[in-house]
Symmetry: C2
Subunit: 421 residues, 2 copies
């Protein structure tokens, strides 16, 4: 029988959800409590860390000390790369990037890449985009977006420079251009989406076995129009998390916007008109409709002290973008492969759409949690032989996971067509 | 008799300049050489550090250890603030911000502020802008700009967020808007200038005794049109110093620009036309003239490896913006004060223009070096009694310096007029 111990900084929220589950113990757990950390790792056969990403490393160090394997859904950082050799020598597996994105994206892409290569195809372009959105029946606001993941990460998304390669040429998109340079996507039955580039589309060329691919781009999906409206916030500087506003405690939504606009030079212009002129958008279009809907032109106090612009924006968005009871979220992932086979140019699209059940049992929770759970089972059953710091790009990992995910309705729809003869 | 020892990492460039000067010894000096650092500080009565700003702190620590006073032309950093108490207790003066900007700007502003306050005036607005430019007779390129200071600092100028206060409202300008939001300035006899805001216009309100001033803005001067053209580089991302280009060794000027543009979608469009469309500028206007003049559309190899975009841009600019033999540079500083006195609104403008003699004896060298030298003399003569970490905002410091600077032709022209009765 499986026994699972779930630790959280406070289990109060967890208790009602776990009442009907018999194989689970829950406990208050503080990762910074050295003794508790050591005790909990000691009594585990396998450790799964779903902590905020910055805290994984102390868990990993404890696991190595006590010879336990570890699974996370987070990116392999340089600090984790440095643990690879030690983990390998101790015959342990630190399995990372095992959730949705990163996770299912790697697994499903590798399955298609392997399939094309086995058939003698040569991949010339790979684009992969994922979004955590809302299901059509819960799509009730002009942004067509609600938070289904850490709101702070949504506000800060894309900061830095996006790097990708297109027709053999490296391309760089600075943050302040990112939300202007979107690609279009279409999913049968679900309509149109737009995508902006992720920071790093280059570093997966090697692990995917696509070192010399001329075009590779990974990104994030939103509904059409989201990016143009979000770009207004970027242009203003509202997503900056690097400094503290001088007087957040006295600010309202209106004065927050005003602080990022040049002073008024004409009499009688409204704040909305001045914002429109500054951002170069129509004062009465769909972008302004989205901004207005968030309440940004209201005289509503911010009620924060010592806050960064990004923290103020996050608070304003949380009031509006939180899932309501019964709301269903939606995960959309689409891979587009162009390849040459037998002298023909072909295109494979591989698309996943997963809907949540309600605001608790979200598609985000399922698609992040299930692959982690399945991989944990495989590891404990001795069916994974990779050791060291590993991501799920090997058939022994992704084949059984993708198979089992189908039982939960997490399944890709694939089309393969000739682009040009 | 004054004796001066000048240390530099290599004195080869210094030797020809110093041949005719009798009171100066020169020596190869490495600030990272602990023993040499200790020995040189030990034999000095006063230490002047004109090293790159990051290295001042190790010099300061050595000075404190050996009970020597220190002068620099650089900003007081938090690390220096932390030395204030110790320096004060040891009866030492660490005199910072003693060059041009920061330096002469503080001194000349404080003289006017003191004058207005003494006459019972109430200052409502203070704007202060400084630029290191080229003299009209050496103004030979479409940017009306040449390097007279560290080129790297010019490329990275303004990164971060500019903060100021206008009519009592705090204002924030993100970097990607900075060169669009310029103010206009005029100097009798020298024509028009434009200015962009410095990062921090707020922290000098207290030291200047203007804690409650409704409007305060400090900034940098350029000739009109410079900022709009520089903004194209910012929009592209060419000034980014945070990451290394993948293939700088294979890049030409053209492919450097191409890397920051979206891929071509129309046939037959030139690189220049695509850049114009992306940046939203005319393909045949004065902005494009400036960019073309720099050679950015040439198939000229970059010849760098592992370079950041900012490093590549700096190399391209150095080829074009270096002073030629005989070139004269020009320092322009303008303070604009609005104040109320006897029920009238008045405006004082206080303006400095200083020209260089040639490409060696620059106005930049004079305006940075002379105040440092005069302050060193005053300190050694026992005429400065302030101890601890000090900036020249006190009459005992700025009055004699401003007086003596006049002998070198560094003198402000002041006008005072009624704005509104």
């Amino acid at each position: 029988m499986w026994r699972i111990r779930i630790g959280d900084i406070s289990v109060a929220n967890l208790q009602p959800l776990m009442q009907s589950v018999t194989c689970v113990d829950i406990m208050n757990f503080d990762v910074h409590n050295e003794r508790q950390r050591a005790e909990e790792v000691q009594q585990a056969d396998l450790v799964i860390s779903l902590l905020p990403a910055a805290f994984h490393i102390v868990v990993a160090q404890e696991c190595l000390k006590q010879n336990k394997s570890l699974i996370t859904a987070s990116y392999v950082t340089p600090a984790f790369k440095a643990l690879h050799q030690e983990a390998k020598e101790k015959n342990l597996t630190i399995l990372m990037e095992s959730g949705l994105d990163p996770g299912i994206d790697h697994m499903s892409a590798m399955a298609v890449i392997q399939h094309i290569k086995n058939a003698g195809g040569n991949i010339t372009s790979f684009k992969s985009f994922t979004g955590g959105l809302v299901a059509p029946e819960s799509d009730t606001n002009p942004w067509q977006y609600k938070f289904t993941w850490n709101p702070r990460n949504v506000v800060l998304a894309g900061q830095g420079t996006a790097k990708y390669i297109n027709n053999g040429a490296y391309k760089y998109i600075p943050y302040h251009q990112l939300f202007k340079r979107t690609d279009e996507f279409f999913v049968e039955g679900y309509g149109h989406f737009e995508g902006y580039a992720n920071r790093d589309s280059l570093s997966y060329r090697e692990p995917y076995g696509l070192a010399n691919i001329p075009t590779m781009l990974r990104g994030t999906l939103r509904r059409p129009g989201y990016c143009a409206a979000w770009d207004v916030f970027v242009q203003l500087g509202l997503t900056d998390d690097s400094y503290t506003l001088e007087d957040a405690e006295n600010m309202t939504h209106r004065s927050f916007i005003e602080a990022f606009l040049p002073s008024a030079t004409m009499e009688g212009q409204s704040l909305m008109e001045r914002l429109a002129a500054y951002a170069g958008i129509p004062a009465d279009g769909t972008i302004m409709e989205k901004i207005t809907w968030l309440g940004l032109f209201e005289e509503k106090p911010i009620e924060m002290t010592g806050a960064t612009p990004a923290q103020v924006l996050e608070k304003i968005l949380k009031d509006k973008w939180t899932l309501s009871p019964g709301d269903k979220d939606m995960i959309v992932m689409q891979h587009l492969f162009e390849y040459e086979q037998d002298g023909k140019k072909r295109v494979i699209s591989s698309t996943l759409v997963t809907l949540g059940d309600d605001e608790i049992h979200t598609a985000m929770a399922k698609t992040v949690g299930l692959p982690v759970g399945i991989l944990a089972k495989l590891l404990l059953q001795g069916r994974i032989n990779r050791r060291g710091v590993v991501i799920p790009i090997y058939p022994e990992l992704y084949e059984p996971v993708l198979d089992e995910l189908k039982q939960y309705g997490i399944d890709f729809v694939e089309t393969d067509r000739v682009l040009q003869e």
